[in-house]
C-alpha cells in the first residue's frame, strides 16, 4: 500500500511550470526550453524525494518539455522558410489559457462567498417539518427479537465459539449505549448491536437495550413495519 500525500501547493504541472516561469522572470512568449526543462525536472526530483505521490500528468509534461527541447535542437531543414513553426507554440497557448483561468479562479475566490463570508438567515430548519411528516411507530419487543435473530444468524461460526466471560458487564453496556445516544441523538438498532463484538457482545448489547426500554430510558421506533428500527433517548439529558 503506497502512502499518498496530496500535494496542494501545486495545482498541477501547468501550475508548476507557470511558477518556474514567474520565479525566473522568464518571458512566457520566449521560454528558454532547455533551462526550464532542467528546472522542472529538478522540482520533480525534490517532490519525489519527499515521498509525495506524483500524479502521472507531471511526467507527461516533463516528456513534452523534453520533446520540445529536442525539436529545438534540430537544425531547421528548410532555411528558406521564414516563419517556421515554433515547437513551443502549443505549450505557450496552453499556459496562457491556464493562466487566464487561474486568474479567474482567484477572482472568484475573492468574492463574498455564502457560508464563508456572508450568511443567510438561520431558519428554523425545515427538516423539522419533514420529521413530523414521518410518523414513527413504537416497536414492540417482539420486533426487536426478530431483528436480533437476524443479526445473530448472519454471524460467522467462529464468532460463536469465542467465550470470554468477564470482558463486559451489562451495566457497562448500558452506560455505553446511553452515552452514545446522548451524543448522537438517535441510532439504528444495527448500529448499536454492531459488528465485531462477538456473539457475547451482541447478546449483552441486546439485553442492555431491553433493560433500557423496560426502564423507559430509551424508545425504539420504526417508520413502517420491517423498516429500520431507530433507538431514541426517552429522557432529555
Amino acid at each position: 500500500m503506497s502512502y499518498e500525500i496530496k500535494l496542494d501547493v501545486f495545482k498541477g504541472p501547468l501550475d508548476l511550470l507557470l511558477y518556474l516561469i514567474k520565479k525566473n522572470e522568464i518571458n512566457i512568449y520566449d521560454i528558454p526550453i532547455a533551462f526550464i526543462t532542467e528546472q522542472y525536472l529538478e522540482y520533480l526530483e525534490i517532490i519525489k524525494s519527499l515521498n509525495l505521490d506524483l500524479a502521472g500528468e507531471y511526467l507527461v509534461l516533463a516528456s513534452t518539455l523534453i520533446h520540445i527541447k529536442s525539436k529545438m535542437l534540430l537544425p531547421t531543414q528548410n532555411d528558406e522558410e521564414e516563419d517556421e513553426f515554433d515547437p513551443r507554440e502549443d505549450l505557450v497557448k496552453q499556459l496562457l489559457e491556464y493562466q487566464a483561468f487561474k486568474e479567474v479562479s482567484l477572482n472568484l475566490d475573492k468574492r463574498s462567498l455564502l457560508e464563508r463570508d456572508v450568511f443567510k438567515a438561520g431558519h428554523l430548519p425545515s427538516r423539522e417539518l419533514d420529521a413530523e411528516e414521518q410518523s414513527f411507530v413504537e416497536v414492540s419487543v417482539f420486533e426487536l427479537v426478530e431483528a436480533f435473530r437476524e443479526i445473530v444468524s448472519t454471524m460467522k461460526e467462529e464468532e460463536l465459539l469465542e467465550i470470554d466471560v468477564e470482558k463486559m458487564s451489562l451495566s457497562d453496556r448500558i452506560n455505553e449505549i446511553m452515552e452514545r445516544l446522548a451524543r448522537e441523538k438517535d441510532l439504528t438498532f444495527t448500529d448499536l448491536l454492531g459488528k465485531g463484538k462477538g456473539r457475547k457482545g451482541v447478546i449483552y448489547t441486546f439485553l442492555a437495550i431491553l433493560e433500557l426500554m423496560k426502564l423507559r430510558m430509551i424508545r425504539a421506533y420504526q417508520v413502517d413495519s420491517f423498516g429500520v428500527i431507530r433507538i431514541f433517548l426517552a429522557v432529555e439529558t
Binding site: A55, Q94, S105, D117, F119
Partner: protein
C-alpha cells in the same frame, strides 16, 4: 396593497433560497411586477442605509437577506463551523466550468493539465456544478454547467455578471 412592503419583507425573510419576483407575485395575487420590484429596491436601499447586521441582496435571480460582509468573522465565531472551503484545484475547475459551459470533462482536463475527476465530483456534491446534457459526438460525453446554487454562493445575479477577463476573451473558444 396595504402593507405590501412588510409582506414582501416577511416572505423574503422566511425563504430558504433567494425569492423571485414571480414567486412573490404568486403569493400576493394580482399585483404588477413593476410594483413588486419597486418595493424590493426600496427595501434594498433602506437596509443599505441602515447599515445594520444584514442587508437585502439581489442574487441568483431573486432576493435574499444576508449578513453584512464585514461581520462574517463574528458569525463564524458564533457558528464555530468551518466555512465552505473550495480548494484552489476545485476553484480552478469551477472557473473553467463557469466560463466554458456547457463543457465536457476532457476539455477541463486539458485546460487544467490534470485529471479533474476528483475536483469535479466535489463540485457536483456541493451542488455548484451539474450535468446539463451530453455532447452529440461519439461516446456522447457528459456536459457540465454551473447551478443556481453557484450563483447564490458567489453572490451573482446571473452568469453575465461573471467578471470578464481580457485574456479570456482574446483566447476565445
Amino acid at each position: 396593497m396595504k402593507d405590501m412592503k412588510a409582506i414582501v419583507e416577511s416572505l423574503i425573510f422566511v425563504s430558504e433560497a433567494p425569492l423571485t419576483v414571480d414567486k412573490i407575485r404568486e403569493v400576493l395575487g394580482e399585483v404588477e411586477r413593476k410594483e413588486i420590484r419597486d418595493v424590493l429596491y426600496d427595501l434594498v436601499k433602506e437596509y443599505d442605509e441602515r447599515n445594520g447586521g444584514f442587508c437585502l441582496e439581489e442574487v441568483a435571480g431573486g432576493f435574499q437577506f444576508r449578513t453584512r460582509d464585514d461581520l462574517g468573522v463574528w458569525v463564524k465565531k458564533l457558528k464555530g463551523v468551518k466555512p465552505m472551503m473550495l480548494t484552489p484545484a476545485a476553484m480552478e475547475t469551477l472557473a473553467v466550468v463557469a466560463y466554458r459551459q456547457p463543457v465536457v470533462k476532457s476539455e477541463i482536463d486539458r485546460i487544467r493539465g490534470v485529471d479533474v475527476s476528483g475536483a469535479l465530483k466535489g463540485l457536483l456534491e456541493k451542488k455548484l456544478v451539474r450535468m446539463v446534457g451530453r455532447r452529440d459526438v461519439p461516446g456522447r460525453p457528459m456536459l457540465y454547467g454551473t447551478t443556481k446554487r453557484f450563483l447564490e454562493v458567489f453572490n451573482l445575479n446571473d452568469l453575465s455578471e461573471l467578471p470578464t477577463l481580457r485574456e479570456l476573451r482574446e483566447l476565445g473558444q
